[in-house]
Symmetry: C2
Subunit: 154 residues, 2 copies
């Protein structure tokens, strides 16, 4: 847990799930693929993430309100001398809080956390349509070195 | 475990680690970032992957020889109604075996395994310089919908 200005970054709790789902859905891509925040599948996914020592679902809290979220996953593998990687997924900032630099502070917090753990790399993918996000990650020092492929099975 | 033609796809064992590392290194990108196959860091990474129920390090075996590898990781998250995703990393086919369709059968085997588990998506990233691989993933039905960002911490 860490306080930045009036923002607290901390692991999500079960009661944060509806606010996190609302942020996932409040997005031009998320709007088409999310459902009722009380859907029990969200809670089941939360329980699995919460129980996994290599997953951290993080929220940003301001004045008791959840205003941002991201998931950090620490991936093991043989590549690069068995290096651990930190993967960032599901990054969202609440509409009410955009334009105040919260996303930048949140990702920087994640990078710092990955560095403290000894991760060799932080990685993420961003939909090609999110051009604002691409400038954002470029500015944070990320390199757009890869093509991100998805295959939907549903 | 599954037999395809004379190829067996199965979880890697500890004694496969040097052969896997040799394939990771025999590559224009891997050559610069891998080390001695007997480096204990590879074995430590193998032990962690092997102990994690959401990781599967797979090898392709032909006539008792390891000729291909990939890692499957089953990622949980709240997005898409709490869907599980299968992420593929560290895909390699031994130089002696390239051009025989092994890579295609291996990735298809991974896709089938993800579908059996109920994963909603299979995802992977590929370095922009691997243009042959891009045609390969296009042909397998993947969509290059994302930009893949990396930030090196070392």
């Amino acid at each position: 847990m860490q306080q930045t200005d009036r923002t607290l970054f901390r692991p999500a709790r079960k009661q944060d799930v509806p606010a996190i789902v609302a942020m996932l859905a409040d997005d031009h891509l998320g709007a088409t693929r999310e459902g009722d925040p009380d859907d029990e599948r969200y809670l089941a996914a939360f329980e699995r993430v919460d129980a996994n020592p290599y997953d951290e679902l993080i929220v940003a809290e301001q004045d008791g309100e959840v205003v941002g979220t991201m998931q950090l996953t620490y991936l093991a593998g043989l590549s690069r001398l068995g290096a651990e990687r930190c993967q960032i997924e599901a990054v969202r900032v609440a509409a009410s809080t955009r334009g105040q630099g919260l996303g930048r502070r949140m990702i920087q917090w994640g990078i710092d956390r990955a560095r403290e753990r000894g991760c060799a790399i932080v990685q993420l993918t961003s939909d090609k349509s999110r051009t604002d996000a691409h400038r954002f990650y470029d500015n944070l020092g990320f390199t757009d070195s890869h093509v991100g492929y998805k295959l939907s099975l549903s």
